[in-house]
């Protein structure tokens, strides 16, 4: 490890790891592959810490490293079928709150059917809550491209889940959606 790992940098790294792992699991659809990626990203980050500019975004830096590792690996594995044994669905399904949303399994499966570029864009913006600018920086592309990818990813997910119009949501989903959506004029 490097001698430049200060307590402040350590704190930033440690705080990022759970988010890095959530991104990796959602991106790969496979927990073991995700943990390999996180482990490798941390190793690369630590061995290249002198390249990190203090005061900049440690989370974005580590996400960029992990994302680049994922794409390098993806190119090597391109001929493999994504999640051939449903590993993600099987392993994540044992989490608590499994019954809280009836559509979890369908949603997870749909997510694995997006292209890697659409998946990473919708995860960074839609799940991780990053700005389009941050996501564009991590994905090394333009903000407009990220916006397009996020929109197309949402459309594709809706298509795969057959919820392209509000009447497709059904009563239960509609109640959930109504709770989610921001109502004009509502405080906050």
């Amino acid at each position: 490890m490097t001698a430049r790992l200060t307590p402040a940098l350590r704190d930033q790294m440690l705080a990022t790891v759970p988010h890095l792992r959530a991104f990796a699991i959602s991106l790969t659809g496979n927990i073991d592959r995700a943990d390999d990626l996180v482990q490798e990203a941390l190793a690369r980050g630590l061995s290249n810490l002198e390249r990190f500019q203090p005061g900049t975004n440690m989370q974005a830096w580590l996400f960029t490293i992990l994302r680049n590792l994922f794409h390098s690996e993806y190119r090597k594995r391109r001929r493999e079928v994504e999640d051939p044994e449903g590993l993600m669905a099987g392993k994540v399904a044992v989490l608590p709150e499994q019954g809280a949303h009836l559509d979890y399994e369908d949603m997870r499966t749909a997510l694995t059917k997006l292209s890697p570029e659409q998946r990473e864009a919708v995860l960074l913006v839609g799940a991780q809550g990053m700005s389009y600018e941050e996501a564009a920086q991590i994905c090394n592309t333009h903000v407009g491209t990220i916006k397009s990818r996020v929109n197309r990813a949402r459309n594709r997910l809706a298509q795969l889940l057959s919820i392209e119009r509000d009447e497709d949501l059904g009563p239960d989903r509609l109640v959930q959606a109504a709770l989610f959506v921001h109502q004009p004029g509502r405080p906050g």
Binding site: A3, L14, R21, A22, Q39, G126, S148, D166, Q176
Partner: protein, 79 residues
Amino acid sequence: VVPSPERASLSAEVIALRPPHRAADAVPEEPAGPHLDPRCEAYIGEWLKAQYAQILEQPLPERLAEILAAIDAEAGENR
């Protein structure tokens, strides 16, 4: 208006001479596609956040916890 062959050639040269990221600016953005119904979009967005939150609640596997402990120790020595 159809540019003259000289002007079209010049434009191509200018684009070719740009640094890579400038050349990429000339490439049209990927088509965004139609916009979803807001409630469907919200439903998908909240699901994405919820599944992320579930993963965040999981304990880290031992091998990652060991790395974090090593990072912690390393930073402690550099204090």
